[in-house]
């Protein structure tokens, strides 16, 4: 420990502590601009200058570490004069347009000026004109005149995202933040720069001019767009959600949000939200609003009649309370026709120990099995990059390359080849190390086998039994596994036991008339492996009940719809991919008569419980056990064929409910390797016909060099593109013009 005094007060701090933090310890707040606790110091703004005895110059508290016996002064005349000087300089060229600036009220420049720089500016010259209202993207707008060149945004993009889309332009007093002409600031993490900008230089377009911070009410919530469960502060004004900010949780999100999470909050105000229970007559499709009592009575009667022939599908988007209530319903019905894994997820529970997100920070090897972090668990992409910078090595097995040259070894597998590759990997790891210069799985095995602290991220879509063998081979060297697949709270659904059967088999049975009632806890179409099967099942089952927020394709086909409250409309808990149970607080009342999921499910079960009981019961459940299950080996595609592979994308058709993200609405597309593009005579951006597996439709062609040359990537969750069904099948792709010509001939 290092001993020093700050303003005469003795403090003891660990070696390597910044003067800034030592001062905080001593109760002395040192103002800053450029310093950001999640990035390396740059000491550029000079706001944090303090006096250190026996040093001739003032020192930047954000960049100088403490030394034994140091005497620091944060309030001496010299320090106060320097602070006033820095503020006077910063304000000299600043437009002082606080009345029309979104940052007003939460601006470091305002705050520091009020606290440390009350004076009349002596600056009277005309100010340097710079660009104002520059739209860097559909989400971020730049005002160069307000920028104080703290470089937080450019450093974030360079140091944390490792994708420097923002850079400085010019020098001296003309320095400004900039993108390259014609290139948008389209990073998935762009919104973080808005939040870290200490002034109003980078502001949010969706939030623009909507509120003042003091008008906003905040609730602590958790993002439910993906399994990471980033902690966020949801804000509303006058009953309307206006924005989402990070509520840094070092163990989960590390202080960052992705743009899907940050800007995906307007769906709760969508005009088509279900506000009351709704009955639907199948033949006429006529919809009738119902009162809750009648709706519940009708539902209970139908479910009671169906009993064990009731299927319950979905549940990976419920609260932990809702998942427990669903368990009660399943128990009451005595049905085994239950599964939350309605998409590509096969194994929600990993063999062997589970990992925590924070284990990534201490890992020396990170193994990705079928996971593309940026798409599947975006914020973990940043965490993995940080771990790699700290010395961890990355090994990748997957149908697509990910994290580029950062991977020490990559085994690119054909579509549906993950299971076989993991099998080979387990064997290779168990064997003595291969000779140098190994490739593919052997190279991955080499990287992994040298590890002492291996963390595995697994899609959970294939290779369960093989992974169990790999886990055994790694033994003590494995820290644990995180399963990234499935719905955001798939881990909660698994723990609550909402996986008694197989969704595919249940749907097949339903399509054959063996199911009498179907309770839909999710939209089945969103990433259904076989949308046709879902359609047939929904048509055949006599009574379909949907619990829903919005008229999804599933809910729009139900006989009875019960409206649910959104996560920001209830106080409850949600479960992330670690199995972490995180509380969420109600920010808004549910619209109309919508109700929290657990209330509705308890009513359906005819059970009574309060929220605390449900959470306690959830916590008391044992960890679900891994079930090794035989997977059928995929049929090898015809040689030379183009085979489809599917995967998540951050902005899927879910954004159709988000007014702030309309420009991100995906159109069906197919990505292939540039070499394959050339071979097919296609150009990026062009329209093409995609054919295969009984599907035929038009897609936009994109180039993607992360793919093997004989794969076609199809995004999941895009309406009009059955990516899940085509996954692993041979497909054809040809230019629309060529197809038309062929048609005429």
């Amino acid at each position: 420990m290092i001993h020093l005094t700050v303003d005469g007060r003795a403090v003891e701090v660990p070696e390597g502590t910044l003067i800034l933090d030592a001062a905080k310890e001593a109760g002395a707040e040192v103002p800053t601009f450029c310093y950001h606790h999640l990035m390396r110091p740059v000491a550029a703004c000079r706001m944090c200058l303090v006096e250190v005895e026996r040093r001739p110059k003032l020192e930047p508290a954000c960049a100088v570490t403490v030394a034994e016996g140091m005497a620091v002064h944060t309030k001496s005349d010299r320090v106060l004069a320097a602070r006033r000087g820095v503020l006077e300089f910063l304000l000299a060229q600043h437009p002082l347009d606080c009345p029309v600036c979104d940052k007003g009220g939460e601006c470091d420049l305002q705050d520091n000026t009020m606290n440390h720089g009350r004076f009349r500016s002596r600056y009277e010259d005309p100010k340097i004109k710079k660009r104002k209202r520059v739209p860097l993207s559909d989400l971020v707008v730049l005002d160069e005149e307000r920028c104080i060149v703290c470089q937080r945004c450019t450093r974030f993009m360079e140091e944390v995202v490792e994708d420097p889309q923002l850079a400085l332009r010019q020098r001296g007093a003309y320095t400004a933040v900039s993108t390259f002409p014609g290139r948008p600031f389209d990073s998935l993490f762009s919104g973080n720069t808005i939040e870290m900008c200490p002034v109003g230089a980078l502001t949010s377009r969706p939030y623009r001019f909507r509120a003042r911070p003091w008008d906003n009410r905040t609730a602590e919530s958790v993002c439910t767009h993906c399994p990471v469960g980033c902690n966020l502060a949801a804000q509303e004004r006058d009953g309307s959600m206006v924005r989402v900010l990070s509520r840094e949780n070092p163990d989960v999100d590390g202080g960052w949000l992705c743009d899907r999470g940050r800007f995906g909050y307007r769906w709760v105000h969508h005009p088509r939200r279900y506000l009351a229970p709704l009955g639907r007559e199948r033949a006429s499709r006529r919809e009738t609003p119902l009162v809750w009592a009648d709706a519940l009575e009708q539902a209970r009667a139908a479910l009671k009649a169906a009993g064990p022939r009731t299927a319950v599908l979905g549940g990976g988007r419920l609260t932990a309370e809702g998942q427990m209530a669903a368990r009660r319903l399943v128990e009451a019905l005595g049905t085994e026709l239950v599964d939350h894994r309605t998409g590509a997820l096969r194994f929600a529970t990993p063999p062997g120990p589970r990992a925590r997100i924070a284990d990534l920070d201490r890992a020396d090897r990170i193994l990705l099995l079928g996971v593309v972090p940026e798409s599947d668990v975006p914020v973990l992409d940043l965490r993995i990059k940080a771990a790699l910078r700290a010395g961890a090595r990355l090994a990748v097995v997957g149908e697509r390359r990910t994290l580029g040259e950062r991977a020490a070894a990559t085994a690119l597998v054909p579509p549906r080849g993950l299971g076989a590759a993991v099998e080979a990997l387990a064997e290779a790891v168990a064997r003595p190390p291969a000779a140098a210069g190994a490739e593919g799985v052997e190279a991955v095995a080499q990287v992994v086998a040298e590890g002492e602290r291996v963390v595995v991220l697994w899609s959970g879509e294939a290779g369960g039994a093989a992974l169990a063998r790999l886990v055994q081979a790694l033994g003590e060297r494995l820290v644990g596994t995180l399963v990234t697949g499935g719905a955001p709270s798939a881990q909660g659904a698994a723990r609550a036991g909402l996986e008694r059967g197989r969704a595919g088999e249940i749907l097949a049975a339903a399509a054959q008339g063996d199911v009498e009632a179907l309770v839909l806890l999710d939209d089945l179409f969103e990433d259904a492996p076989d949308p046709d099967l879902v359609r047939r099942a929904l048509e055949r089952v006599p009574f379909v009940l949907a619990l829903a927020h919005l008229p999804t394709e599933s809910a729009a086909r139900a006989d009875l719809v019960l409206p649910l409250a959104a996560p920001v409309e209830m106080s409850a808990h949600v479960v992330n991919l670690e199995g972490r149970v995180q509380p969420i607080a109600a920010l808004l009342p549910p619209p109309g008569e919508a109700r929290p999921d657990w209330e509705v499910l308890l009513d359906l079960a005819g059970a009574v419980a309060d929220r605390d009981e449900l959470v306690a019961a959830y916590r008391a459940l044992p960890e679900p056990a891994f079930v090794a299950e035989e997977e059928e080996a995929p049929a090898p595609p015809p040689p030379g064929a183009l085979v489809a592979v599917s995967g998540r994308i951050p902005f899927d058709s879910g954004v159709r409910w988000e007014e702030g993200l309309r420009t991100r609405l995906p159109r069906p597309y197919a990505a292939v390797h540039p070499d394959a593009l050339a071979r097919l005579g296609l150009r990026p951006g062009e329209a093409a016909r995609l054919k295969g597996g009984g599907f035929e439709g038009e897609v936009e062609v994109r180039a993607d060099d992360s793919l093997p040359v004989d794969s076609v990537f199809l995004p999941r969750g895009v309406i009009g593109l059955p990516a899940g069904r085509l996954h692993g099948l041979a497909v054809e792709l040809e230019a629309v013009a060529a197809a038309a010509a062929a048609g005429e001939a």
Binding site: R46, V86, F89, R171, G172, A173, Y174
Partner: protein, 438 residues
């Protein structure tokens, strides 16, 4: 030796043969003791081969101090390097000569590039560097051609490359051309630039000796500093030390420009009085003119007035007089010079060249430039005068690198010595000197 050095007797080091025709050619340089030091130290010619430690020891004894401006003892800078770890170590020559009024390195590069190359090989040997770069400012396209040709010749002669003169020492050297930025003379900004970035000075620690170019141990030395090394090795550190003062060994090239009869580069011993430089070397004022003020160390130094002309030109005495020896670029102003205008021109330079990283320099130089321009053109107000008194103090000592202090050095000294001139500009709305426009 250029004209004018007759009266002060001493042995020149750097300019000993500077006006020899085609000295930039290897054979000519070799005919004037060129590469003798290298052949002796690395080749063992005429005596035993010197160890790297022995070369470093000579430099330590020589009292050679950095000629780029800071005057840091050269051997000590080399000693900061950690012990070799098998990885690359770099020696970078700072040939970004951009300090206003400084043109000594240009002459060495143009006329005697081999002296620098020999110095770099010896220095590289002493510090066990593996690779050298000569960072030339972007405007030095002409000198670059000369240096590149000399490097080729040195490779051909086996002075560069693998196993130099059988010593087992490998050293590669190449030039690098900047692209126009004064800040790149600051050694860490230079390293950023050499790595392909904007030239922003770096946070220290880590110092370049520990983590410099590409994060590897690196020493950055000025052209003139390195050019002294061959003579030190050839004649011995003690000899070199004896040429200068107690604390600064050797001679110094003084670049004298501005309002003098014979501007030029003049080599004199460290500690030579300014008066000798101005009169004996540079021939005194222009006909009919009288000296008014002199900047002794490039645009970043405060000015000295005629009553201070007997000061010895060495690091400490000039610093004690409130200025600095810096690059020893001596800029002379005479009774035709308007000090307000001179201050405006210099501030314009610093505002132009501020890299923009830190607040006081980025904003302060621009603001001062605007205030000075108003005063100089007769539009100034008493408030502007107040700015000249106040703003420099908000910059001095508070900036990220030395450029902030440099930017206000001249202005603060001009305000101290010539305040009535500033006041008169505001009171009369024009330049009271009615000078000849300069």
């Amino acid at each position: 030796m250029p004209e004018g050095g007759a009266a002060t007797a001493f042995e020149p080091v750097l300019f000993k043969d500077i006006d020899t025709p085609e000295l930039y050619r290897r054979q000519v340089y070799e005919a004037h003791e060129g590469y003798a030091a290298l052949r002796r130290a690395l080749g063992g010619e005429g005596s035993e081969r010197m160890t790297p430690e022995a070369v470093l020891e000579e430099v330590r004894v020589s009292n050679l101090r950095g000629r780029g401006g800071a005057g840091f003892p050269t051997a000590r800078k080399w000693q900061f390097l950690p012990p070799p770890d098998g990885g690359p170590r770099y020696l970078v020559c700072n040939a970004d000569e951009s300090e206003p009024g400084t043109f000594k390195d240009h002459e060495i590069l143009r006329k005697n590039p081999h002296m620098l190359i020999e110095g770099m090989i010896l220095a590289g040997y002493a510090m066990r560097a593996t690779r050298g770069f000569i960072y030339l400012r972007g405007e030095f396209a002409q000198p670059k051609r000369v240096v590149d040709a000399a490097i080729r010749e040195a490779y051909e002669a086996g002075y560069l490359g693998r196993d130099i003169l059988g010593s087992g020492f490998d050293f590669d050297l190449s030039t690098y051309l900047g692209a126009g930025a004064y800040i790149c003379g600051e050694e860490t900004a230079l390293l950023d630039s050499l790595e392909g970035k904007r030239g922003f000075p770096r946070l220290r620690p880590p110092f370049p000796a520990v983590a410099g170019l590409y994060g590897r141990p690196t020493v950055v030395n000025n052209v003139e500093t390195l050019a002294n090394v061959p003579a030190i090795v050839r004649r011995g550190g003690a000899w070199f030390a004896s040429l200068g003062t107690e604390r600064s060994g050797g001679t110094k090239i003084f670049s004298i420009s501005g309002r003098v009869a014979r501007p030029g580069n003049y080599e004199y011993p460290m500690g030579t009085p300014l008066r000798v430089l101005l009169y004996e070397a540079a021939g005194g004022p222009l006909p009919g003119r009288a000296f008014k003020a002199v900047i002794p160390g490039g645009g970043s130094a405060g000015l000295l007035v005629p009553s201070q002309f007997d000061l010895p030109m060495d690091f400490e005495p000039i610093a004690q007089a409130g200025s600095m020896l810096g690059s020893a670029g001596v800029i002379v102003m005479d009774d035709s010079t308007c000090m307000v205008r001179a201050a405006t021109w210099l501030m314009e330079f610093y505002a132009d060249e501020s890299c923009g990283k830190c607040t006081p320099c980025r904003e302060g130089t621009k603001w001062l430039e605007m205030a000075l321009e108003r005063i100089e053109t007769g539009r100034g107000t008493p408030d502007d005068l107040e700015l000249l008194q106040g703003l420099p103090g908000q910059i001095l000592g508070n900036t990220f690198c030395g450029l902030g202090d440099a930017a206000v050095g001249f202005l603060m000294s001009a305000v101290r010595h010539f305040w009535p001139e500033f006041e008169a500009h505001v009171a009369e709305g024009r330049c009271p000197s009615g000078g000849d426009g300069r």
